[in-house]
């Protein structure tokens, strides 16, 4: 029983990170109807931003301080928000009225450019770097269950961020404008909504969430390197599709589900090497029965 609960905790922690990344894919798909493949690199840039900011925060707030960790995470999120907006402005906006395939290929190009640009010795270099501890790490034991501060931070920040995102999208004017743009650019423009600005904002929000996810992922990983975003990025993209691309709760659900599946498949004795195969086979089954994803509807317009 306690082993099962342990797997639930581990699965939720991993799934939360996927959920945060998946939301960025699904938000951009919502307003622009294409998959921003460079999104997986934003999370890598978030981890690197934190890597470079951490020593500075340590100098100000002292080693492993909570305040330092929060400021590192917030600043990295801001930097990535700006990078996300810049990518949209430079690479995608000029192609706004072009076929979606053109934009998709551009996205792959941007992704490769960032990945291999960052491997250049003058940028980050290809070698893995040890990620600093941002806050005091401890393990708490509860009836045979081990919960690390790391897991708690991951779960807590995901919960807060998802709540804040839900509030913004569902309860604020700018959130309603985002949904209006997702429905139809022209109709939104006729309301006086500056569609480009809303798209910019969508990239900013998605990229900020990816930055946080990148840092949380880096805290669990042994080291960071320029290609570190590919694996979690791909999984989060699949999570967004399984949840129903374009659907925000779907992205969160898909992320959690994928994290849980991976963790549980990895815990089955004898087949743990095949955990990705098992997890993805189940996802394929889900898509066979629900082609639009768990929460997606088969229709032309989605939130």
């Amino acid at each position: 029983m306690s082993e099962f609960l342990q797997q639930v905790v581990n699965g939720l922690a991993l799934g939360s990170i996927y959920a945060l990344i998946a939301i960025g894919y699904t938000m951009v798909y919502g307003v622009l109807r294409f998959i921003n493949f460079a999104h997986s690199d934003i999370l890598m840039l978030g981890a690197f931003a934190a890597f470079f900011l951490a020593p500075k925060a340590q100098a100000i707030f002292g080693a492993e301080s909570v305040l330092g960790a929060i400021s590192v995470i917030l600043l990295s999120a801001l930097i990535c928000a700006a990078i996300g907006m810049l990518i949209e402005y430079l690479a995608y906006r000029p192609l706004r009225d072009r076929p979606k395939l053109t934009v998709l290929i551009t996205a792959i190009g941007v992704s490769l450019l960032i990945e291999f640009g960052c491997q250049h010795p003058a940028v980050f270099g290809p070698n893995p770097k040890a990620f600093p501890k941002l806050f005091p790490a401890a393990d708490y034991h509860l009836q045979g269950l081990t919960i690390s501060t790391n897991d708690m931070v991951v779960l807590g920040s995901t919960l807060v961020l998802l709540g804040a995102l839900w509030f913004m999208v569902q309860r604020t004017k700018v959130g309603a404008a985002m949904r209006a743009v997702a429905f139809n650019h022209h109709a939104a423009a006729l309301m006086g909504i500056n569609v480009s600005r809303i798209i910019s904002l969508t990239f900013a929000v998605g990229s900020a969430l990816a930055a946080v996810a990148g840092i949380l992922y880096a805290l669990k990983a042994p080291a960071i390197e320029p290609l570190m975003g590919i694996q979690p990025g791909l999984r989060a993209f699949i999570a967004a599709v399984v949840g129903g691309i374009g659907n925000l709760p779907g992205a969160a659900l898909g992320g959690l589900l994928l994290g849980a599946l991976e963790t549980f498949a990895g815990g089955i004795p004898g087949v743990s090497n095949y955990r990705d195969g098992i997890a993805f086979a189940i996802l394929i089954l889900i898509l066979l029965f629900r082609p639009a994803g768990l929460l997606g509807k088969l229709q032309h317009e989605k939130v």
Partner: protein
């Protein structure tokens, strides 16, 4: 003295909206081939013509959803060419697009709020919303419903109501009768005339149903393959043999 609401206001000398020699291309096709028209403040002006004549293109060009190749669009004495769509709405020129385009994923209330997106004065939003509810009481009953669940007629009411939320001086309506139950069409056209009479909102009405359009408008233009073929006071066009034969079912 009470203003006489049964009669349309007299057109002033300076047109509120003036389009001159407007040309719009879709690739090699000339969708608009030098269209000129004037809409005087306070009037209802109709634009009639067959499918593909360029009526919708004209409205979309005025709203900057299409970029004209040449020609001028002036509104309240200012040129609109080169402005983005959201800046045009700010000037009180609101467009109810073809096919209504209500935000199906938003509630009726959220749709109406989007119509007042640029309005920062909350009391104005409240006032406009009250006016929308008096004009279309049905919308008030459906406030929390998502707009995609409304009937075609209700969606048209919402689309017009949403445009009214922007406190327009001039309203452009694209085929308000499209896909709506015949009984409701008459009601909606009565509302359109009422909006014009009560609020002095200038209306440019695009309509395939020429009978309805000429009845509501004081002046009309007939568009054919991207050009103005005929224009004149509605009463005159209604008796024009060519218009009768081509657009009024030959009566």
């Amino acid at each position: 003295m009470q203003p006489d609401l049964s009669q349309p206001p007299q057109p002033s000398s300076e047109p509120l909206l003036q389009v001159q020699e407007l040309k719009v291309n879709y690739g090699a096709i000339n969708a608009l081939d030098g269209v000129s028209l004037k809409v005087a403040a306070g009037q209802i002006v109709s634009l009639i013509g067959a499918n593909g004549a360029g009526k919708t293109t004209l409205l979309r060009a005025i709203s900057a959803l299409h970029k004209p190749r040449s020609g001028s669009i002036a509104y309240a004495g200012r040129s609109l060419v080169g402005l983005p769509p959201h800046a045009i709405v700010r000037n009180g020129l609101c467009h109810v697009p073809e096919g209504r385009m209500v935000f199906a994923n938003l509630t009726v209330l959220e749709n109406l709020r989007m119509g007042a997106y640029l309005q920062t004065d909350h009391s104005v939003v409240e006032r406009e919303m009250d006016y929308v509810f008096t004009t279309f009481p049905r919308l008030k009953e459906r406030l929390r419903q998502s707009a995609g669940t409304l009937s075609g007629g209700e969606q048209q009411m919402l689309a017009i109501g949403r445009a009214l939320m922007g406190s327009p001086k001039c309203l452009m309506l694209d085929e308000p009768s499209l896909g709506i139950a015949p009984l409701l069409i008459k009601a909606i056209f009565e509302k359109i005339v009422q909006i014009n009479r009560e609020h002095g909102i200038t209306i440019l009405l695009v309509e395939q149903n020429a009978n309805l359009a000429l009845e509501a408008a004081s002046y009309a233009y007939v568009l054919e393959t991207g050009r103005v073929k005929l224009e004149g006071p509605s009463a005159q066009l209604r008796h024009d043999p060519e218009v009768k034969a081509a657009y009024l079912g030959g009566r």
